[in-house]
Amino acid sequence: MRARIAGHALALVATVFLGGLFSATLVRLAPGFDVDEQQLDPHLNAESVQALRAARRQEHNIFQFYFSYMNRAAHGDLGTSLALGQPVRTLLRDRAPLTLRLLAVGLGLGWVAALTLALTAAWLRLSAYDLLTTLVSGTFLCIPAAVLALLSVLWNVPGSLAIALIVFPRIYRYARNLLAKSYSLPHIITARAKGLGEARILFWHVLPGVAPQLLAVAGVSVSMAVGAVIPVEALCGLAGVGQLAWQAALARDLPLLVNITILVTLVTLLANSGADVIGHMVRAQES
């Protein structure tokens, strides 16, 4: 058992390490890595423009960059942002709480809304109600994330609500389909025919069956919310990690981008692995 846990931890570390390396490679290979908007300033003379270009050259060899980054990171130094000139550690430390709060509240609200609608739809099995929930979720799915973020500014509601509205239709659709499928399984139909109470059917028969899959959806919904955080923070003027990621991408800020990717990879892995582990436990208990 201990060896298995160690194996999992090793795989997790390796994946995070690879995530950082891949992201550094992607950024390095994308055009625009070597340039700085500042070099278009007509006041700068040739030497200054050359100096600006040379500043990026030390990051040309991606393996060298990554090795030295890991080396420094091991000593607690995450590097300095190229665009903002501040230590990445400070930037992330200052902004992470806001983003985590946004994610937590947004996901929580999204899940409550999605599960409420999905469960009532599966329970009631009224086509009109199903159509209504599809209409509501479909509408939110079709509205661009930026528009939802702008609406939250317009109506002065918290950004977490915008995140909730972005993730809600996706969670709803998975949950609704999985629950519908579960309710159509023979043993549930039989249970219903036998007149078992709806609550008992739901908690004893339906939910345990779909729990591992719903947990998997919960794991990936974290990734959905992370994706939604970028436009919401950027438009709502919230100084979180999402806004930072957008600034870093525009400025090709390699140290910042690598750190953010590693952070996102870590969050994704933890969310998904956590969902897997709990799913396994549920399944083991069931069998």
Binding site: E37, Q38, A251
Partner: protein, 550 residues
Amino acid sequence: MSGRHKMRGQMSKTCWKSIAVGVICVASLSAHVAAQAGGELKFCLRMEPKTFDPLKVEDEASAAIRYLTGGVLVRVNRQTQELEPELAQSWNISKDGRQITFRLRSGISFSDGTPFAAEDVAYTVQQLMDPALHSATGDAFRSGTGNVESKVISPTQISITFPAPVAGLDRLFDQVAILSERSPKKETAVLGPFIVADYKPGATVLLKRNPNYWKTDGQGRKLPYLDSIRLDIQPNRDVEMLRFKRGELDLINSLDSEYFDKLAATSPQLVHDAGPSLDSEQLWFNEVAKAPIPRYKKNWFRSANFRRAISEAINREDLSRIVFHGHAQPALGPFSPANKFWFNSNLQPQTYSPDAALKALQTDGFRLENGVLKDKDRNEVVFSIVTNAGSKPRERMAVLIQDDLQKIGIHVNVVTLDFPSLIERMTQSFDYEAIILGLTNVDLDPNGEMNVWLSSSENHQWNPQQKVPETSWEAEIDRLMRAQAASTDPRRRKEAFDRVQEIVAEEQPFIFLINKNALSAVSTAVHGAAPVILSPQTFWNADRLTVAAK
């Protein structure tokens, strides 16, 4: 002619005007000030300020903070465009244009109480001219190789000597915020009206009144009137507009014409159109010899006749009317008429005539076949115009130009790219055919554009870093730009730059499209605002603004 004399000479022309404006401002202000001093002014920065060190300023947001916090020796009055004394009471430029001597005010202290003296100016110049700093502000002073020497004559007098003449030398000091040599707080000790009190990265910069600011108003009251300025970092224009309408913001600089009209329809008292700004939007073709584009296309782009024909086929009136809702003027050249002294008023507006354009192309062997223009080797005339994504006006201009050129059989592909990708194509790979971008002119003086017009320069966008000028007209522009930079005689400098403007109009390496108007919005709670075309449009007189309690 000395700098001091030059200043006086120019002032006489607009003396009455400035006095009149001043009187009106003071009269309207004093009434409000008596009733309401203090308050907090709130507006947006559209990007994160990259630095608070005034010597390293490179972006608009940092420049705004430098303007509000930095004390300068001389200041270009953003309304009259004249140079006015600030920390320096007077100044004098030597006949050879290499030396400037300032006589400084006495009894002034930095925000932390450290006294201000000539040593601080010497220290600032030394820091600014450090070759390792690579500061745009410092590079503007670098006209030749060698060291800059500062000599402190007395605590209130200093002379600075440059290795070569620097044209428009005194005006360049408008950008140089003086640092304290002795203050332990270094660049956070300032001489301007405000100090940076708090900075929340990604969210806000809070400026508070500098208690030691030296200026007073006509009635002897200490400036600035405002208690604080809150600068919210917000890149999105829609959000900025929403918050302005809700009363959460007091000012909008460089307002989009679309929003200007929407706001004007409901609240005309909030919007201000100060007329054509110094900024221009232009289209240019890639004329780089080693560019990875087909040879026949290079031949088109390097032909002045082709460029002139394209220019003639573009309907600038429509660009102005449709894209900018009439808040723009067709551009005539590198400087807009807003640049009162340097604009060449003999330039003729570019006529719009697709027929004439087609005729001109025919003289180069182009033929229109079934609605498709072909060159003399029967290559179809197709090219792409690249512009930066996210700029609605540029994207719309590109689409209008695409349609205009279709009328003479030219097929244009419009491509929007993120800015870093665009800059890489423009400055390194040269893998593009035509680009639409804007030139933001902060300087009134043509020396600020030296690196745009010199053929050897990195910023000579259509064909940069030429070892020797590849065309005779570029050689002529090089000669004229160097001649005006070496001269201290404003008249001779003007003649040289007038000729440069004529050559550019003739050869069209940049096809100038429009000059945007300087649009802004100011809340009725703000008193004393008089938006102008020069940056910073709305808060150039921030030390004399007041905000009424809402």
